[in-house]
């Protein structure tokens, strides 16, 4: 029985952690390279989700094959990430990289507020949903419990793909090398001919795409409601801070810790489920003020 509970909690935690990681990784990447804590990340998550729902509902209503909603999620996420992320970086962030971090935080917070209202204007306040991808994948039965294949198989797989693609991109491609160089020392990188502005732009857009992808992949499992962005930015900040801001593999591990701890709480002590992510964050930061994997002074991604 106890073993069973542990296994169930692990499976639920894994699914939840995968989504958390997808959102947190974009946040942490942007912080690692640009040094900006992007509060608007939460809006990009929400808008990615709404765009996915709209596109998915349209595809289904037009009578297209329901499997097309899978590429639909990626298309919507990339469109939102590139368009909105690109605009935010070009029009706003580019002007304030040298400014006080508090000002940067306030600007992204302002963008967050604007986008929250924009999202309300476009999609209204009634909950949205689009669960086609989840329905077509069906259920799997594990340990006598029905799980959706989408949550226990597809989401963890998607998170792993993102993690390894990102690792490969940063370590084995030219653009990745440029990003690492700018992160290490912007001036030196500029001196050897790297276009730092372009690197910042690319990084921000990639991070924004991850936020939107997190929203897109969350869409089939949940109802889209106003305020979902705010919830997610707080959670993904907890993940990123627990890992140490800027730590990509660390974000994966801390998302796992938080996701699994949360689902164990549902079984063992439902009362503390709600505060679990923050409890872990506080405990970790008390012992390691820079996060589990954070290093002092040197900023690395």
């Amino acid at each position: 029985m106890t073993m069973n509970i542990a296994a169930l909690a692990l499976l639920d935690g894994l699914a939840y952690a995968s989504l958390l990681f997808l959102v947190a990784v974009g946040l942490t990447l942007i912080f690692g390279v640009l040094g900006i804590l992007n509060v608007a990340h939460g809006s990009l998550y929400a808008i990615g989700a709404y765009a996915t729902a709209t596109l998915g509902q349209w595809l289904v209503a037009q009578g297209f094959n329901p499997w097309l909603t899978f590429p639909g999620m990626i298309v919507a996420a990339v469109a939102v990430g590139v368009l909105l992320g690109g605009l935010i970086e070009r029009l706003l962030l580019q002007r304030i990289y040298s400014k006080d971090p508090v000002l940067q935080l306030l600007v992204t917070f302002a963008v967050f507020m604007i986008l929250e209202n924009l999202q309300r204007m476009i999609w209204g306040v009634q909950p949205y949903f689009m669960s086609t991808p989840l329905t077509v994948l069906g259920n799997v039965r594990l340990l006598g419990i029905n799980y959706t294949a989408y949550q226990v198989l597809f989401l963890p797989a998607a998170a792993l793909v993102v993690l390894f693609t990102l690792r490969y991109f940063l370590r084995h491609t030219n653009m990745g090398a440029q990003i690492l160089a700018v992160t290490e020392d912007r001036e030196a990188a500029t001196a050897i001919g790297i276009n730092a502005s372009r690197v910042y732009f690319m990084t921000f857009v990639i991070g924004a795409c991850f936020a939107a992808l997190g929203g897109a992949l969350a869409t089939p499992t949940t109802s889209l409601v106003t305020g979902m962005g705010a919830n997610m930015i707080v959670l993904s900040f907890a993940v990123a801070a627990t890992a140490g801001l800027g730590q990509i593999e660390g974000a994966a591990i801390s998302a796992l810790i938080i996701g699994i701890a949360r689902s164990f709480a549902v079984y063992l002590s439902p009362e503390i489920e709600v505060i679990m992510p923050y409890l872990i964050m506080v405990l970790v930061l008390l012992v390691r003020p820079n996060g589990l994997f954070g290093k002092e002074t040197v900023r690395k991604i």
């Binding site: 639920d12 909950p127 799980y147 949940t222 919830n231 949360r262 689902s263 549902v266």
Partner: protein, 432 residues
Amino acid sequence: MNKFSGAASAAALIAALAPAGAFAQDKPAELNIGITTYSSGAASVFGVPARHAAEMLAERINAKGGIDGVPIKLHFIDEGAGLETLLTEYRRLVEDEGMDVMFASISSGVCNKIAPLAEDLEVINFMWDCGTQRILEDDDYDYVFRTQANATPEVLAPLAYLLKHHPEFKTLAVVNQDYAWGRDSWEIFQAALKSQRPDVEVVAELFPAFGAADFSAEVSRLQALQPDVILSTSWGGDLDTFVRQAGQRGLFDQSLFVLPLAESSLQRLGDSLPEGAIVGARGDHYFQHPERRDDPEFKKFNEDFKARTGEYPIYSVYHMVQAFAALEAVYDKAIAANGGAWPEKEQIAEAMAGLEFQGLGRPLSIREDGQAVEAQLVGMTGTSEAFPFKIIKNIEIYDAEPLMAPVGEESLDWIGKFEPGRLDISGTPFEN
């Protein structure tokens, strides 16, 4: 000398302007109503439809000449803007803009803060949607009234329905939102259940975060526990998500769902809800109300609302209708009592006790503690060819009195005294 004559003429002027009789107040140019409702945040699923309803009702009242010839003007405050802002805005509307009556609020947490403030500002306040029974039970108010039922009958009616229609259940689990309503409604349900069915085992008490996006772990745990009944007083996106995730994973096949607020989610959930789930409506609110659905006034309102918003009305809309019905009724009553002259606010407050009014359900009345007595509609989900979503079948409409703590008693103390069999009551049953 100059000074003296100045003061004298000012006194004469004031004397000339003073009204002849103390109570013959002049009719104002307009009746200002301040309404708090959620325009943002999760609870805007209730707030936005209710706001549409308020605008429709004001237009309708003004089209027939207003209340005793005085047109209504509405002023909205967003409850989602945060408590601090809300209270400031509330005070500003009352003190600077001269609101005559306030309708506040949707959230019980907000009502807790608004009630003492309204009393302090001496402004008539209708608690038009919030559920907590505590406010009017714990304190006496002269200016605060509730124009619908409170949590106690809203929770006891679905329990009575469950006890009657599925008495065989032995285990129960609860999944409520982790905030005041989720906790309070469970406290009432649990206390009453214990008194009626001490043999029923509560196998899990789950309180996921308010606004949680994922209930996978809860659904897994419920599948492992296999309770006979799963109760959830959640609403809005939380309820939608929980129902969908439960449905996708087959939880409906093993447990009976009791969802006292699900009337407000039926249209969104489409066929995600199974047949036979017990649903309530926080009052006798339903766009297919079996006693009202052939009534032309009822049909016209629902059609107009559908034309305006694209949806059928939900309970928050009918709560708003009731607040307006109470407003019209109380002005009529106070004006009549005042010999046809426009009443002072004290006279309005006095006229509230014993007021009878009717929205788009059964007639209501206001008790001496300011609490309205409202019937409760409970039924089971069923399929209809007329609508692309589940409808409520096997409806029973319960009289409110047997389900409400009497004036002066606190609900939990009152429930604590329940004899076995106390909730073996039936409502008026309807076939359909």
